[in-house]
């Protein structure tokens, strides 16, 4: 394994949902040990991209390589083996609702290792400590706030010490405090455990704050990529509109429609 080789390499990715083109020739490199943000307007298939990297969906064309393995070609057994080294934080947290926090974090450890109970307990408590929720171990998922549920899910995602974590919209619907906590956690986890992180988000400020590198996707293509500073001062009108959240620009405020006067005066 060469350290400066990207952990994830995507080449000429094409993916369709029915007749709709989601990705049309996307190339992405995710460097090892860095936080890479993948940004773009809602509905551009950012979550789909994570599912493609995790092998839950298969591309129509193109290649997806994770740590040297072709995810798009792996059989079920190899795919599951590879997934043990990947963590994913779902937008909803995706905690199992019928077992308490402790058991949720212990779940992947119990499934994949034969460790004795005393060791599992220590591991789980350490993981919960890392996200600041050691005291919440006996709560049920429905007793957690949205931000807490996401942190428990994060503890579960790092339970098996994966090589990478994929975050699906980690900042959506969070209050400023839990947003700050998550931003800090993602960065801290990445640096402390030498993880590779992929953050899919449309929260420009937060994503730019933690990312080492940013990809912007829209209409099935990579529009631009580069370091956060370069993106913020991008000369591209589109990127400037997206990064600064302007209402009008290359992405028009109005959905395509006939002229207003014509519409108002015309017959229904």
């Amino acid at each position: 394994m060469i350290d400066d080789e990207p952990l994830v390499t995507i080449r000429n990715l094409r993916f369709f949902r029915g007749d709709r083109v989601i990705f049309d020739g996307v190339d992405i490199d995710i460097p090892r040990g860095k936080v890479t943000a993948i940004m773009g307007p809602s509905g551009t298939g950012k979550t789909t991209l994570l599912k493609l990297i995790g092998g839950q969906l298969r591309p129509a064309a193109g290649t997806i390589q994770v740590d040297g393995e072709r995810v798009d070609r792996l059989g079920t057994r190899d795919l599951y083996r590879l997934r043990m080294r990947m963590g994913m934080l779902f937008q909803s947290g995706a905690l199992l609702t019928d077992i308490p926090v402790f058991e949720n974090v212990a779940y992947p450890i119990r499934e994949h290792t034969g460790l004795p109970e005393s060791l599992i307990r220590k591991l789980v408590l350490l993981k919960l400590e890392a996200v600041g929720l050691r005291g919440a171990r006996d709560l049920m998922p429905h007793e957690l706030s949205g931000g807490m549920a996401r942190r428990v899910a994060l503890a579960r995602a790092i339970a098996l010490d994966p090589m990478m974590i994929m975050y699906d919209e980690p900042f959506t619907g969070q209050d400023p405090i839990s947003m700050g906590v998550l931003v800090k956690l993602i960065r801290a986890l990445n640096d402390a455990s030498r993880l590779t992180s992929i953050v899919v988000s449309h929260d420009v400020r937060e994503a730019a704050q933690i990312a080492d590198y940013i990809y912007i996707i829209s209409n099935g293509k990579v529009i631009e990529h580069g370091a956060p500073d370069a993106m913020m001062s991008s000369s591209s009108e589109w990127t400037a509109q997206f990064m600064n959240g302007l209402a009008d620009g290359p992405v028009p405020f109005h959905f395509p429609a006939p002229g207003l006067e014509q519409d108002l005066m015309g017959e229904s």
Binding site: Q56, R83, M84, M86, F90, A94, T97, P108
Partner: protein, 259 residues
């Protein structure tokens, strides 16, 4: 005309596709059974929620159905002076038909719908996806134990239904209407055959347990991950299971009791 033909074709292809998916899911579920031997807890938990929690509704229904059989049977049989054979009539109808069939219908309504809703909501809240990304196969870990639990629980529930039904019939016939106690039991003992009646009833309920649980899990697993999708899938579970049980009952009866 051509458009209608095309629509018909689409419906046909869609149904075949569903059928194919259903069978694939069944294969995957069956492939996971061996893993249950190393984790019997998974099965026990599901036996509780699918089986034990259905006991009350099955027990109450069984008793009342038996009581009604006792009442109706007595009125008809007494017209021919044959009221002493009431025990045979009650037991035969319960063990052969009503036990397996009504239990399966109750099971579809009580446990089947719950299974569909549970799996559908797990899908809608990304719990199944989450398991996949934890390298845990959701079919083996979540669906297989539920499938096996339904298969095992159904004959037990049907046996309980029939047993309590016989007691209900006994209570009405012997207790209230004055049929002879000894005749009730001895006639039943001579006329009800272990293989022809009891075993065939058990086979029926095994088939119904298999089909009802399969339908419930397939509908839940294939439901659209929205609240509307889950509600539709739950309805489909009850409707499809009921049709399947009634249709299969006719076929099985014809095979078992036909000349």
């Amino acid at each position: 005309m051509l458009e209608q033909l095309a629509r018909l074709g689409r419906i046909g292809i869609g149904s075949l596709e569903q059928l194919g998916r259903g069978h694939l899911l069944l294969l995957y579920m069956l492939a996971g059974i061996s893993e249950l031997f190393t984790r019997p807890r998974l099965l026990l938990n599901q036996l509780f929620s699918v089986g034990v929690l259905s006991v009350l509704i099955v027990a109450i229904s069984g008793t009342f159905v038996g009581m009604v059989l006792g009442l109706q049977g007595y009125y008809i049989l007494s017209q021919f002076g044959a009221e002493q054979t009431l025990g045979v009539m009650v037991a035969a109808s319960l063990v052969r038909e009503l036990g397996p069939v009504v239990t399966a219908l109750l099971f579809a309504g009580r446990a089947g719908s719950a299974l569909t809703a549970e799996i559908g909501l797990m899908k809608a809240t990304e719990q199944l996806s989450g398991l996949e990304m934890m390298a845990v196969n959701p079919v083996k870990r979540i669906l297989t134990p539920r499938f096996l639990a339904g298969f095992v629980a159904m004959p037990l529930l049907a046996a309980m239904f029939s047993a309590l039904g016989v007691l209900g019939g006994y209570f009405v016939g012997v207790g209230l209407l004055g049929v002879d106690d000894g005749a009730f039991w001895s006639q039943m003992q001579t006329k009800i055959d272990l293989y022809d009646d009891v075993l065939n009833g058990v086979i029926k309920s095994l088939v119904f347990g298999f089909v009802c649980t399969w339908i419930a899990l397939f509908q839940g697993y294939g439901s659209a991950p929205t609240s509307e999708g889950v509600s539709r899938a739950t309805t489909r579970t009850v409707v499809h299971s009921s049709f399947a049980v009634l249709g299969l009952d006719f076929i099985l009866t014809a095979l078992m009791f036909g000349e």
